[in-house]
Amino acid sequence: MILLLRKAAAFIRRDFQVESGYKANFLIGILNSMVILVFFYFLNKLLSEGGAPDLGRYGGNYLSFVVIGLSFARYFQLTLTMFSDSIRQAQQTGCLEAMMSSQTDSLTIVLMSSLYGLISGAVQLLLILIAGAVIMKVNFSHMDVVATLLVFGFSTLSFVAFGVLSAAAILWLKRGDPFTWILGGMGTMLGGAYFPIQVLPNWLQKVSFLIPITYSLDALRLTMLKGYSVQMVARPLLTLGLMTAVLLPISLAIFAAMVRKGRKEGTLMQY
């Protein structure tokens, strides 16, 4: 029995040592747990302390609000992690090196490897929205389709920029990519996926305006639930476009630099 316990302790110690070796991942794991607690705190505040008036901007119905928030936040999170996931998967299956030895450059390989995931994610998103409309009776009858598609496209592009940054971080840190945490876990809460950002303290609201999902979800709710036109959501569209225009070239350059670093140090296949 004592031998078994010692073995169990040895396994726990070994895994703790492995995980604490990936310092960023270890830290982000702890912080993520805390974010979930904070999320429930704000949700409770909205529902029990008369926070519902904050939904007025989107028609006042929480279900409509959260269906859009949940489905799109899920898709944007997928966009964010798809690139780094595809790299990790290719590293683990041993296919990354084989692909890299081809005449296709590494950036193309990573971007292309993520396409299927993005498309299947978009199909899932559509299914959730259809289920929301059919089963939960969410009213999309006022939707401005062109404006919605534009906001969706601009949002996806801005998340692609962060996704490429995330892939670069994975090549560098191997585990514990901070972009996924900031824009994925934190972004879901701060961007208003499950509750309006108005219930957040002022200083957190200011932080939320620094991340693209805040603009995306706000504009999507307005175009899908209240039929806002392209002109009416021009401001968030412009913000998303600006974020993409600045971030995408930077993230591509950083990714290329990380690949180059990996090829010089021989760490490209390490995970």
């Binding site: 299956t93 296919c95 692909m99 081809s102 005449q103 090829r263 010089k264 021989g266």
Partner: protein, 211 residues
């Protein structure tokens, strides 16, 4: 290319194949500098890895080749033709449509050889191609390399191996590497003329450097 484990054989092959970038010096393949003319240099080289897992196991052998043929910029018309041609070349036509997960180690290594030949490279790099193979599969692969690549297509082959009999059968020149440095580089015919066995030659050049 001979050398003990950790000597730097695979690193050197990856440098030549463009998978790694040199921190100094220059590498010229088929007349192209790998840094300045990376694309042309890469096109000249086919890399045959010893990593069995480097295929998509749920895809068939043919589907894998077609995928890598697309990555090697083959035209739509050539992708299928070249893949089928290579499947026949390495003797996998009966298994072409079966998932790679059902392949034996020898079959995977043949498929890796086929993949290395997709873009019809001038230089073929083989990193311990027989490492995981049983004696029969090993002999079959060696014969395949001799008959179909060396004699028929006159490609330049650069092979890293631990098996001295492969060097005798396949190579014109032998290079011994240890601790990242070249210890010896000679024509096998010269060694034979001097009455030096490959085993003695290898041992002498490796042990002289602290192994």
């Amino acid at each position: 290319m001979l050398g003990p484990n950790g000597a730097g054989k695979t690193t050197l092959l990856k440098l030549i194949g463009g998978l790694l970038l040199p921190t100094g010096g220059e590498i010229v393949v088929n007349g192209y500098d790998t840094l300045r003319h990376n694309n042309a240099a890469r096109k000249s080289v086919g890399f045959v890895m010893n990593e069995e897992r480097s295929f998509f196991w749920r895809l068939s052998g043919l589907q894998n080749l077609e995928f890598f043929a697309v990555l090697d910029n083959l035209s739509a018309a050539d992708v299928r033709r070249r893949s089928e041609e290579l499947i026949r070349l390495v003797g996998l036509e009966e298994h072409a449509d079966m998932p790679v997960s059902t392949y034996s180690s020898g079959m995977k290594q043949r498929l890796a050889l086929a993949r290395g030949l997709i873009s019809e490279p001038e230089v073929l790099i083989l990193d311990e191609p027989t490492r995981t193979l049983d004696p029969v599969a090993c002999e079959d692969l060696i014969n395949l390399i001799i008959e179909r690549l060396h004699k028929d297509s006159h490609k330049s082959l650069l092979i890293a191996t631990h098996r001295l009999e492969e060097v005798t059968k396949l190579c014109d020149k032998v290079l011994v590497i240890n601790n990242g440095h070249v210890q010896a580089f000679d024509r096998i015919s010269d060694l034979l003329r001097q009455g030096v066995t490959l085993s003695d030659y290898y041992r002498r050049n490796v042990t002289a450097n602290g192994e």
